[in-house]
């Protein structure tokens, strides 16, 4: 009984904050656009009894999902978001792993300070930090002024309002989410394993690849998920730092919702985005579980 209550808490949490909102959005995605408050039809009227409920379900259809396949804008936007999220995750891993590694290798009395330095940027609002990048990357910005001063370039580089600026913004913003889980697995690692490897004649480089990296796998995977998932639906960074050629699904969703006032299509876009995210996570978890069973 006590165990049941313990399990019930996270499930209730999931039910209230994930499943119920998901079903509401799913319901809207099957509705039709209308000029009313709220701007879609039909609305579920529970006071109307069973007839009202059945006629409500009859009015729902998959028209909006069909519409998404009729215009190449949507799959191009999904694909482009996927590409941007993938490249950003790889970049964040390439930058974040060495940082986490050197933090874990630092003298123990230094580690809390280093950890603090990684977390410190969160004390400033995310929006203000992205705005600061606008000031750094613009044509008259700090970066161009510095490069002009050093004589490396003679004309200011156009970085702001391009995809390069989007990558810089995303990697900068999500880097701590990559560093922290990797650091926490590396910190817990048993150093005697490395000593054993050395005793058995393993070079330091191969010990790193054969022992350190596999043992930090859970941290790497957690970090990659924490960067990849929010980046895929990112809206703020591409709209502030990107140009009009930056195509991301978050921006398309915003346009459906605000410019077209089409809540049903916007909901359909959101549902598909969610499915794209959930399916790989479920497959990954299945795979993990199988491996664990095989090992056990």
């Amino acid at each position: 009984m006590r165990r049941f209550a313990l399990i019930a808490v996270p499930y209730l949490w999931l039910l209230a904050l994930f499943l119920v909102p998901f079903l509401i959005v799913m319901k809207i995605s099957l509705s039709d656009i209308a000029l009313a408050i709220p701007p879609y039809t039909p609305k579920l009227d529970l006071t109307g009894g069973w007839d009202a409920v059945t006629s409500f379900f009859k009015a729902l259809d998959f028209e909006n999902f069909e519409f998404l396949t009729s215009d190449d804008l949507y799959w191009k936007a999904y694909l482009s978001s996927f590409k941007i999220a993938l490249i950003s995750t790889v970049l964040a891993l390439l930058i974040g792993y060495p940082i986490a590694y050197s933090m874990a290798r630092a003298a123990p009395e230094w580690r809390p300070t280093l950890l603090m330095l990684v977390i410190l940027p969160f004390w400033t609002s995310f929006l203000i930090r992205v705005y600061a990048w606008m000031g750094i990357l613009s044509n008259e910005g700090l970066l161009n002024q510095f490069l002009l001063w050093t004589g490396l370039i003679s004309e200011p580089l156009t970085i702001l309002n391009t995809n390069t600026a989007v990558y810089i913004g995303i990697v900068y913003t999500y880097l701590p989410f990559m560093i922290l889980p990797i650091y926490s697995t590396l910190e817990k690692m048993d150093d005697s394993l490395l000593e054993a490897a050395e005793d058995l004649g393993c070079s330091r480089t191969s010990a790193f690849w054969l022992i350190t990296v596999p043992l930090s796998k859970t941290g790497i995977i957690a970090g990659c998920f924490l960067v990849f998932i929010p980046t895929l639906g990112e809206f703020v960074i591409p709209s502030l730092l990107g140009g009009s050629q930056t195509l991301m699904i978050g921006k398309v969703l915003w346009e459906e919702f605000f410019n077209n006032r089409d809540w049903p299509v916007a909901s359909a876009v959101a549902i598909i985005l969610l499915l794209i995210l959930i399916i790989p996570i479920i497959l990954f978890q299945r795979n993990e579980q199988k491996q664990r069973e095989m090992e056990g």
């Binding site: 408050i37 701007p39 009009s244 930056t246 006032r261």
Partner: protein, 360 residues
């Protein structure tokens, strides 16, 4: 006993006034003289809660979601019309609005297109969508006879190619840019026909390579600082850029023109949401705004024209006397208005706009 009754009655009145006497207003950002807000509270004793927004789309989403909690909101014409149809607003109680007599028929006859009989809204400010130029830079690029008051400047690729280096911004608002391009090719700017609207795609695509940015507010600073030389934007915003440049004394001289081919005229209307918690206080606020002196103070501060005839003698000369703010009769005749797109047409418009901007 009598005293006690009186006392309790007055406590009841006080309690009622403490809960009822407040009004929540949701207006565009940088759109009022803040001294007026204090004056309203001092005059009426009603507590004023004033919030701001910066896009019609944001306001409309709140209105259509319902339960916004606001008592007075300020949508523009086409948005107002759509929201009235959706049932978002309540009819005004004219008996509570004696200052309605101050309104200007030139404006109210035009706003009837969006709000028949002006039953749901009053005009706050109005303006035009036109061309802002950095005179020095444009003449440098195109010569002394540059067509700074014509759509030729911004929609003819030959001119735009020469202007590209000094920077051109356009509004990121298809409902403004498409009517403008339709006017340029001699079509009805208020066309609702997707086939007619499609004709502007090649026009805008031809000048797209020369446009630095589509944005609806950055051009104010960019023009004032001399970073760009041409912007298509809203009258009051470009006049703000002009005044900022003059104050900074940085050698930048900005001018605003409503295109001589005809320019879009827009109206920002104050209305009361159907579910407003304090409709009485909302009427008091509208009546306060329609007072001649108050409206004149607002226009003198934000440099936009208003729809209040009685306020005109009280306007400063650089507001009422400026044809960029109060156009002369001939220009006024040349202005056009637009109506809202139906959902299917809206989708075509948004899609085309994405294609023009991003090439996809």
């Amino acid at each position: 006993m009598k005293n006690l009754l009186l006392a309790s009655a007055s406590i009841a009145v006080m309690a009622a006034s403490a809960t009822a006497e407040e009004v929540r207003v949701y207006n565009w950002s940088d759109y009022i003289d803040e001294a007026l807000l204090e004056k309203f509270e001092a005059d009426t004793g009603i507590k004023l809660i004033y919030d701001v927004f910066d896009s019609n789309e944001l306001l409309e989403t709140k209105m259509l979601a319902g339960g916004s909690g606001y008592d007075v909101v300020v949508p523009s014409g086409t948005f107002l019309q759509r929201q009235i149809t959706a049932g978002a607003f309540q009819k005004l109680d004219m008996s509570k609005l004696p200052n309605m007599a101050n309104m200007w028929d030139v404006v109210s006859s035009r706003t009837e297109q969006y709000d028949p009989d002006n039953a749901y809204s009053i005009n706050y400010m109005w303006g035009t969508t036109g061309i802002g130029v950095n005179i020095g830079k444009v003449k440098e690029a195109l010569g002394d006879d540059a067509p700074i008051d014509s759509l030729e400047l911004v929609l003819n690729p030959d001119n735009m190619a020469k202007l590209a280096d000094c920077g051109v911004h356009m509004l990121d608002a298809p409902a403004e840019m498409i009517p403008m391009a339709l006017k340029y090719i001699g079509e009805d700017p208020d066309s609702q026909d997707p086939d007619v609207i499609a004709k502007v795609e090649p026009v805008l695509t031809a000048v797209r390579p020369y446009i630095q940015k589509f944005h609806s507010s950055e051009y104010i600073n960019a023009l004032a600082n001399g970073d760009i030389c041409v912007a298509i934007g809203w009258s009051g915003d470009i006049l703000q850029a002009r005044d900022r440049a003059a104050e900074a004394d940085n050698g930048v001289e900005i001018a605003y023109h409503a295109a001589k081919e005809g320019a879009q005229m827009w109206f920002d209307q104050m209305a009361i949401p159907a579910d407003a918690p304090n409709p009485d206080a909302a009427h008091t606020f509208l009546n306060f705004i329609m007072d001649a002196q108050n409206m004149a103070d607002a226009s003198n501060y934000v440099y936009y024209a208003n729809g209040n005839l009685a306020s005109q003698p009280l306007l400063e000369e650089d507001v009422i006397g400026d044809p960029a703010i109060y156009p002369d009769a001939a220009t006024l005749e040349n202005l056009f208005t637009t109506s809202p797109y139906a959902p299917k047409v809206q989708r075509v418009v948004t899609r085309m706009w994405t294609k023009i901007k991003s090439g996809t």
